[in-house]
Symmetry: C2
Amino acid sequence: MARPRTFDEKQVLNAVRDQFWDAGYAATSLEDLMRVSGLGKGSLYAAFGDKRQLFLRALRSYTDDQHDALRKALSETPRALDALRLLLTAPIDDPTGTRRGCLMANSTCELGNADPEVLAHAHRTYETSTALIGDCVARAQREGDLPAGADPIALARALLAAQQGLVFMSRTGLDTATLTATAHSLAAQLLPDRAGAH
Amino acid sequence: MARPRTFDEKQVLNAVRDQFWDAGYAATSLEDLMRVSGLGKGSLYAAFGDKRQLFLRALRSYTDDQHDALRKALSETPRALDALRLLLTAPIDDPTGTRRGCLMANSTCELGNADPEVLAHAHRTYETSTALIGDCVARAQREGDLPAGADPIALARALLAAQQGLVFMSRTGLDTATLTATAHSLAAQLLPDRAGAH
DNA sequence: GGAGTTCTTGACCGTGCGGTCCACCATAAG
DNA sequence: CTTATGGTGGACCGCACGGTCAAGAACTCC
């Protein structure tokens, strides 16, 4: 019936996401977006709307991917406790996020005060993460690796806060060795090795 | 000899700092800066140089203030352990930072990739904070409230990461009660009540 | 009071921004 | 092949941005 699209939407969203990730929202110009996506202004606007909507699309795509990966990591690891430890240590070695931090976190810091939609999305995202981690904590409790009495959601929140703190510290240029040591230290204190060890 | 300034430099820096804090660097226009400072463009440029230099001045002023407050809080609290606990819980109730997070952290997220000077300043700032907290940890050890064997700097880094994580979570719109509970949970696990309690 | 110096104000400038629009093109249906 | 439809690329627009500058105001010293 008509001319088909010559680009893949997901590819464009990934390219755009990386650009926003590197430079932030305000510091990314439409020219940047055209360059990294390989599309003209008209195509971008026809397909995604204006800059802000494109950003929100890329952000949602990012958090969806992150949650898929989190869900997979938490469910596929044989021992739930190991998965929880990886929550703290894995982000340090993640090549996609090295020194760039987390796109959702960056966006919250840059736009959280000004854009209620970004703030609401951040809130939803971290609630979902908390729930996923909470499920994994509960599994670790069932597996006998964590004390059964504690509230899984409470521990999940503590873990998430610690993780975000670590990811942020890595942005300040802290060397990987120190970062890893801190991650292990936090893991050791928040996730003791055995249930009734003390 | 000549006409004196009609403004107080520190007052201007504070006003400008709040503006950058609320809106971020890129989203703050010169007009915003003129409005909040009450100065004309010429005065701003003559006194501080361009927008970026003004921002860096405000940022340095902010971190200096923060470190003064930290130094004071850590040294004036009778029991060092209490001061360390406050590190985690106090930021939640701080009216100056409520929902705005930490200006240094926000700036690192927004500009860390693009501006090496901001990154370097962030690195220096958090190293100083780590050292200050480390001193306090050592005091808590001398006071018998923390195990003597552990490395004070390592614990300081864990505490700082946890604090930054908490401050960030508060930016996502997490309610104060949950936030406080998480802070206490983290404090309980990172700062056990007595040295040899387990 | 006059001279000299610095601060202040606001008009002005060039640039690059986000966003619009339209002429052209590739495709599919008839 | 023709026609209708949606995709594409880039010219174009108005605006607000960061930054400059010159003329006047406020002050000190002589």
